[in-house]
Amino acid sequence: MKEIRWHGRGGQGAVTAAEVLAIAAFKDGKFSQAFPHFGVERRGAPVMAFTRIDDKFIRLREHVYNPDYVVVLDPTLISAVDVTQGLKQDGMIIINTTKSADEIKQEIGKDYTVRVVDATNIALEIIGKPFVNMPMLGAFAKATGVVSINSVQEAIREKFRENKSVAEKNVEATLKTYESLK
């Protein structure tokens, strides 16, 4: 079983990202589970969401304490919360930033695999707004191989089925982050 923790700020869509990843994994023929960190959400406050992916139905319902992957939607969160908390030794951090992986490693001060992508710029360029939650799914798919980019794109289309142009822009941005991941 793979456990993913999403870090974002209230309003950035970390919960939606966790859900769409679960939908994508399900489309890949896997079992999945997504849930928010049960909190009183406020815009701008640090928030978390979780996705579990496995080959069999997921019965486990405790919180995620030792994730395999951490996805960080907002680079300023590194100084606000410990994004590495409980992260497995061989775990990976995928972060939206303009910095290099080495710079992030230094900031975190721990020896984890770090993958970086400038999702904010990609989102501004393609979607026209700094919505990075869906684009970061593209980066996640590339970095981990846990989910296929096709399923991610199909899941986005399903989630945003009531607004096709928003869906397609997000799908496009997802492909760009998939290709731009460093």
């Binding site: 966790a18 859900e19 679960a22 939908i23 399900f26 079992f31 999945s32 589970q33 997504a34 849930f35 928010p36 049960f38 009183v40 139905f57 997921i58 019965r59 486990l60 319902r61 405790e62 919180h63 304490y65």
Partner: protein, 382 residues
């Protein structure tokens, strides 16, 4: 049958839609809110032919559907915590009148202090109100139990309201795969309600009359005796459902998992999933899950616990003044006159949304293995 991945609250709304209730009286409250939200969308889109009554509070929500139910409509409501507490007075009216109402309770802690997170104090505090109560483990079981709940409530041998409890957040806000049954299949299983005692101007009746002491006492005695006759009917409906839909949950009343071991955890609701994972990591502990909490399945529980060394009741509530949790009280009652009964301990945890992990379960079992009658508080993490 369509296998989908969706939020459990939305799966609940889909299940309710499939049951074709005619009147919805709902007032949103966290964590049940996504259920009335989605049902309102269905009514608004014309996907559901139901009258949605927009009420000003939960007291009116339940009152409106008590009236609609007495008039012969299939009805639905959902609530949580303070909302359920506010309904309290009318819940007794609904069960006293033996109305076939189905309600989902998204379990949440009660104030004060204000807390929106999951525990069972809301439903547990309604344990004497005469409603049948189920606790479910998964989104799928929530869907299946709602369909069964209508069948049970509307059975002429029952005619009694039913609560389906689903853990707040732990289930309500979780995305997971679920089979949403076909409309045709549900229609076959659950024909339109033909309530025998519906209010009808051409054939007048009185619901909820005044009763002098003796008839009142006689009615309470009848309800009390009827209540424990529901269990075999609940099993029957569960078995019929299993035949039709291919899914079952133990015997419909309790579910045993690897219950061939000396130590047992007895619990309810979504926590059972975590317990199953814990049980898989050990060779000395099994699980007995109460699916039906009210009426308490005394016989089934006694049979399941025969010959055990120790039973740990894990529950997310307290029974003030009883020195234990409420489920533990029933278990102690069930085992009272049993020969060579197991030792029993009570683990209280998950209160106010605190998390119970596999590690916590291991610590509790190891500490309580040789003890008896202990009240053990789980580590509070969240």
């Amino acid at each position: 049958m369509v296998k989908k991945i969706l939020e459990a609250s939305h799966a609940v709304a889909e299940a309710v839609k499939l049951c074709r209730p005619q009147v919805l009286g709902m007032y949103p409250i966290t964590p049940s809110t996504h259920i009335p939200e989605r049902l309102s969308e269905f009514v608004n889109n014309g996907e559901m032919d139901a009258k949605l009554i927009r009420v000003e509070a939960e007291f009116s929500a339940i009152s409106s559907i008590v009236g609609a139910s007495a008039a012969g409509s299939r009805v639905f409501t959902a609530t949580s915590s303070q909302g359920l507490a506010l309904m309290n007075e009318v819940l007794y009216a609904a069960s006293g009148m033996r109305l076939p109402i189905v309600m989902v309770v998204a379990n949440r802690a009660l104030s004060a202090p204000i807390n929106i997170w999951n525990d069972w104090q809301d439903a547990i505090s309604e344990r004497e109100n005469g409603w049948i109560q189920f606790f479910v483990e998964s989104s799928q079981e929530a869907v299946d139990t709602i369909i069964q709940a209508y069948k049970i409530a509307e059975d002429e041998r029952v005619y009694n309201p039913v609560i389906v409890n689903i853990d707040g957040f732990y289930l309500t806000h979780v995305y997971e795969p679920v089979d949403i049954p076909d409309q045709e299949q549900v229609d076959n299983f659950l024909p339109p309600l033909n309530y025998k005692y519906k209010l009808d101007p051409t054939n007048p009746k009185t619901h909820g009359p005044f009763a002098y002491p003796v008839p009142y006492a006689k009615l309470k005695k009848r309800n009390f005796e009827d209540f424990h006759s529901f269990t075999p009917i609940i099993k029957e409906v569960h078995d019929d459902f299993a035949k039709e839909f291919g899914r079952s949950y133990g015997d419909g009343v309790i579910e045993e998992y690897k219950n061939d071991r000396p130590y047992v955890i007895l619990t309810m609701g979504s926590l059972s999933g975590t317990v199953k994972e814990f049980v898989d990591s050990r060779d000395d502990v099994g699980l007995v899950r109460l699916r039906q909490y009210r009426p308490f399945p005394f016989e089934e529980v006694r049979n399941a616990l025969e010959g055990k060394e120790m039973v740990l009741v894990v529950e997310k509530d307290v029974a003030f003044g009883s020195r234990s949790g409420a489920v533990f009280l029933d278990l102690r009652n069930a085992l009272f006159d049993m020969k060579d009964k197991p030792r029993i301990n009570n683990g209280i945890g998950g209160v106010g949304g605190t998390d119970i992990t596999r590690e916590d379960l291991g610590k509790a079992i190891d500490e309580l293995k040789n003890k008896d009658g202990e009240i053990y508080w789980f580590e509070m993490r969240g």
